[in-house]
């Protein structure tokens, strides 16, 4: 290292100056690192916008936090999760099943009545013509 040879050559004061410079350099690097870390944290905070989200939808955020905790606690592959997912799927499928059943019922009525008047007032049947 050229600096070391130089300091050796100059003497004790130069040694101190070299150490001081290094300490200064380390200090500066630490400051830079700290400010970068602070910037990253600020950026993350702005991206997540937790404060704003909590402000807008407090109960939703609390539920989301409970969900995150539940996953962290290892509840993902439990029977409770299975039951909850099953229940959720049933509730989500309910409108489609209802629609399908209505469709089937309409079809059945159409087939049984033989008319296109499902949902309308049925026209009175014509009396059979006598020849």
């Amino acid at each position: 290292m050229p600096e070391t040879t130089q300091t050796k050559g100059v003497g004790n004061g130069a040694d101190h100056r070299g150490i001081g410079e290094r300490v200064e350099h380390i200090n500066q690097s630490a400051h830079e690192l700290w400010s970068e870390a602070q910037g990253a944290v600020t950026h993350l905070k702005e991206t997540l916008d937790l404060q704003g989200r909590v402000e807008r939808n407090p109960y939703g955020m609390i539920l989301a936090a409970v969900g995150v905790g539940y996953l962290l606690g290892g509840g993902l592959f439990s029977r409770l999760t299975g039951n909850l997912v099953r229940l959720g799927l049933k509730v989500a499928a309910l409108p489609y099943v209802k629609e399908e059943l209505l469709h089937l019922a309409k079809g059945a009525i159409k087939n049984a009545g033989g008319g296109e008047h499902v949902g309308q007032v049925a026209a009175p049947a014509e009396p059979p013509k006598t020849v």
Binding site: L50, Q51, V54, E55, P58, Y59, M61, I62, L63, A65, V66, G67, V68, G69, Y70, L71, L72, G73, G74, G75, L76, F77, S78, R79, L80, T81
Partner: protein, 66 residues
């Protein structure tokens, strides 16, 4: 006829007795809701951490028991 009149009277009486209690319960719930929302908005970090901790405990219990 008399019986139906009696039933109607009883229903009215019951409604008159229950209606104020229902109103009070609704007011109390509304007050509680606004207080909880204010607390969450004033202390978002604490509330979120508490919620995560509660979820963690529920997850632990659920995974242990089953």
């Amino acid at each position: 006829m008399e019986t139906s009149q009696q039933i109607t009277d009883k229903a009215r009486e019951l409604q008159a007795r229950i209606a104020p209690q229902l109103d009070e319960a609704r007011r109390n719930l509304s007050d509680l809701n606004s207080r909880v929302m204010t607390y969450i908005r004033q202390n978002p970090g604490t509330s979120l951490l508490a919620a995560v901790a509660a979820g963690f405990l529920i997850g632990k219990i659920a995974s242990r028991r089953w």
